[in-house]
C-alpha cells in the first residue's frame, strides 16, 4: 500500500485524515513493512467505512488488516445509534462470531509426547472437520431455536461441559437479545447437522505447547507455564452464520436507498441501528453468535472425551474464548463521557483491559486474554489486553497472522502432501481430509505472526504473555 498520504504518528501508527466524505480519520496500527505489504483495497475500504453514518472517533485497522468483503478484515468501527449510526452485515462478516478458544490440559510436553500420534489420530477421528462432514448432533427446529437463544449455556445444560466453563467465554457464553425468528429457514436447514463441527478453510483444532513465556505474572494468572500443553480451537457459526450474512447483505443492499443510506460500496450493505431492518439483523446476528458459542462448547466436550480416552491424566479447562466477526453493544468513553456504541470487529478481537467488570475474577487484574492464531507451522500467541486499547481501538486487537498469499495461489504453489510431510519432519502432525485445504493453509501463505503481534504490542493494544508452538493440527 502506498503510504504517501498517511501521516506516520509513530513506528506503528498511521493516520489518514478525513477526505472524500470521510466523517472520521482512519487509523492503521502496523509497522512499515506490514503496511507496505497491504493491498490498496485496505485503504479504499477504510475510507468507505469512514463515510458511513454515525461512525465515531475513527475507523481502525489492525496489524493483520487485509482486503475483505466491504470492511477490511482486521477492521474496527463503532457507530452511535443516536447519530443515525448503522449496523453492517459486511462489517461483521459471513462467519459470525468465528473465534478462538484455548484450553489448558494440565499436561506437559513430556507427558504428551509418548502419545502424540495416538492423540492426533483420535482427534482426527472424533472431531468432525472438513467440507460436508456433519456432526453427532442432529437438531430439530425447536432445539436449534434453543441453541440460538442459549449459546454455550444451552450446550452446558445439555451436558456439553460445565457451568464453570461459561465464565471463561465472552458474555458468559450467552448473547442476550437474540432473535431466532429473524433467522431464515435456509439458515436453520444449513445448521441442522453441523453443530459440533470445525468446518474447513482456516478452521482448526490444534494441540500446542507453551514454548516461551513473555509475561510471567500474566501467564501464571492464566495458568500457563513453560512446556504446558494447551489445545486451541478456531471455528465459528458454520452454515447458519454464513446464511444470515448472505440473507441480510442482500436485504440491506436492496433497502439502502429506501432507508436513506448511501453505500459507497455495495459490499458495505448496512442499515440504521434504529430501523426495523437494523434491529432484525442484530437479532439474527446475536442468534448466530450463540450458535458459534454453542458450537465451540460442544467441541470442548468432544476434546475432553478424546483426552479422557488417550491421556486420562488431563484436566481440560477453558483458558478463554474470544470471538471475531461480531458487532457488540458496548459502553465506551468518548471525550470524557460514556456513550453506548455498536462496535464492529471484523477479524478483530475484543480486548478489555485490566479491571474491566466483564472479565472473570481470576483474570481481571491482568486484562482479557487475546488469542492470536498464526499458521500451523509457525505457532500462536496468547496476549493480555491493555488499558490503552480502550482509547486506541475501542478495546480491540488483531486476530491472526493474516494471509499474504491467496488461497488460489497457495493451492497452485504447494502440494498438501508435501506440506504435511515437511511439518512432520519438524515434529508437527497434521491431519486433514483435504490435501487441497492443507495446501491453501501452507505456512508460507500467511504473514509473519511475530511481526503482527509485535506491532500490536508496540501499538499498546495488547501485550505478549506466551508463545505457543504447534504439535498437532487438525484441519478441515
Amino acid at each position: 500500500m502506498d503510504t504517501s498520504d498517511w501521516q506516520r504518528v509513530s513506528p506503528v501508527e498511521w493516520r489518514l485524515s478525513p477526505r472524500s466524505g470521510m466523517h472520521v480519520p482512519a487509523v492503521l496500527y502496523a509497522d512499515e513493512t506490514l503496511v507496505r505489504a497491504m493491498d490498496e483495497k485496505v485503504r479504499e475500504q477504510l475510507v468507505n467505512v469512514a463515510r458511513l453514518p454515525g461512525i465515531v472517533q475513527a475507523v481502525y485497522a489492525m496489524p493483520d488488516a487485509h482486503w475483505g468483503y466491504g470492511f477490511p478484515i482486521g477492521g474496527v468501527a463503532a457507530f452511535d445509534p443516536k447519530q443515525g449510526g448503522i449496523v453492517s452485515a459486511g462489517g461483521v462478516g459471513f462467519d459470525i462470531s468465528c473465534g478462538v478458544r484455548t484450553h489448558l490440559t494440565g499436561l506437559t510436553r513430556a507427558q504428551l509426547e509418548p502419545r502424540l500420534h495416538a492423540l492426533a489420530d483420535e482427534l482426527a477421528r472424533a472431531i468432525p472437520a472438513g467440507m460436508g462432514r456433519g456432526g453427532y448432533l442432529h437438531l430439530s427446529h425447536a432445539e436449534l431455536t434453543d441453541v440460538l437463544l442459549g449459546g454455550a449455556r444451552w450446550a452446558v445444560g445439555r451436558g456439553y461441559g460445565e457451568e464453570a466453563d461459561l465464565e471463561r467465554i465472552e458474555d458468559r457464553g450467552q448473547i442476550l437479545h437474540a432473535k431466532p425468528d429473524c433467522v431464515s429457514s435456509r439458515a436453520f436447514a444449513r445448521m441442522r447437522d453441523e453443530m459440533g463441527t470445525l468446518g474447513s478453510g482456516n478452521h482448526y483444532a490444534e494441540v500446542q505447547t507453551v514454548a516461551r513465556i513473555h509475561d510471567a505474572t500474566a501467564a501464571a494468572a492464566m495458568g500457563l507455564a513453560q512446556d504446558d500443553v494447551v489445545v486451541t480451537v478456531h471455528c465459528g457459526s458454520r452454515g447458519l452464520g454464513h446464511q444470515i450474512g448472505t440473507d441480510f447483505l442482500r436485504e440491506m443492499a436492496q433497502e439502502a436507498p429506501t432507508l436513506g443510506v448511501h453505500l459507497p460500496d455495495r459490499e458495505l450493505a448496512c442499515a440504521p441501528i434504529e430501523s426495523d431492518l437494523g434491529r432484525r439483523y442484530l437479532g439474527a446476528m446475536r442468534a448466530g453468535m450463540n450458535c458459534a458459542l454453542a458450537n465451540r462448547q460442544v467441541i470442548t466436550q468432544l476434546l475432553r472425551e478424546v483426552f479422557a480416552r488417550i491421556l486420562p491424566a488431563a484436566l481440560v479447562r477453558i483458558l478463554y474464548d474470544v470471538s471475531h466477526n461480531v458487532c457488540k453493544e458496548e459502553e465506551h468513553r468518548i471525550d470524557g463521557a460514556s456513550r453506548r456504541l455498536f462496535v464492529h470487529r471484523k477479524g478483530a478481537t475484543r480486548a478489555f483491559g485490566p479491571g474491566h467488570a466483564d472479565l472473570p475474577e481470576a483474570l481481571r487484574s491482568i486484562g482479557q486474554p487475546v488469542l492470536i492464531g498464526g499458521s500451523m507451522g509457525t505457532g500462536s500467541y496468547v496476549l493480555a489486553a491493555t488499558a490503552a486499547s480502550e482509547s486506541r481501538s475501542f478495546s480491540s486487537a488483531c486476530h491472526g497472522a493474516g494471509r499474504n498469499m491467496s488461497r488460489h495461489a497457495a493451492a497452485r504453489s504447494f502440494r498438501g502432501r508435501a506440506v504435511v510431510d515437511q511439518l512432520a519432519e519438524r515434529g508437527i502432525l497434521v491431519r486433514s481430509p483435504s490435501m487441497r485445504g492443507v495446501a491453501e493453509e501452507a505456512p508460507a501463505a500467511y504473514k509473519d505472526i511475530d511481526a503482527v503481534v509485535d506491532a500490536a504490542e508496540a501499538a499498546q493494544l495488547a501485550r505478549k504473555v506466551a508463545f505457543l508452538a504447534p504439535m498437532i493440527c487438525i484441519k478441515g
Binding site: H66, Q243, R250, A409
Partner: protein, 126 residues
Amino acid sequence: MDAPALAPRWELYSHDADIGIRGFGSTIGAAFEAIGVALTAAVCEPVTVHARTPVTVRCSAADIESLLYDWVNAIVYEMAVRRMLFSRYEAGIDGHELHGTLWGEPLEIRRQDANGSWVAQCVIDV
C-alpha cells in the same frame, strides 16, 4: 448440423482472504453457468465431479448483480444442505428471473480433492 457447445470458460482470481470466481460467456446465462463451474473449482477440480443428479434452482432479483449474488448463494446452499458438488450448470435468464439446473453428485472429498494428484502438462510445437 449444430456447432458443438463450447466448454464453459471460467477462472479463479486472487483475493487475500477468499477466492475470486469469474465466468465468461456469449450470453449472460452462459456467464452464469461458467461462474458455477468456477465455484466448483474453488473447492475441487470440476472434472472429478460426475454430473449425474439434477437439482432445480429458481432465483428472482431486482437487478442482474443481485441475480448473480442469488445464483451463487443458491449453489452454495444446495452444496451445503445436499452435501453435493456440481460440475454442470444450466442457467436460463429472462430479465431478472433465473431458472436453473445444477448437475452433480454426492460429496466424496477423498476422490474429488485433487491437490495430491499428478498434473500432465506440455507445449506442442506446431
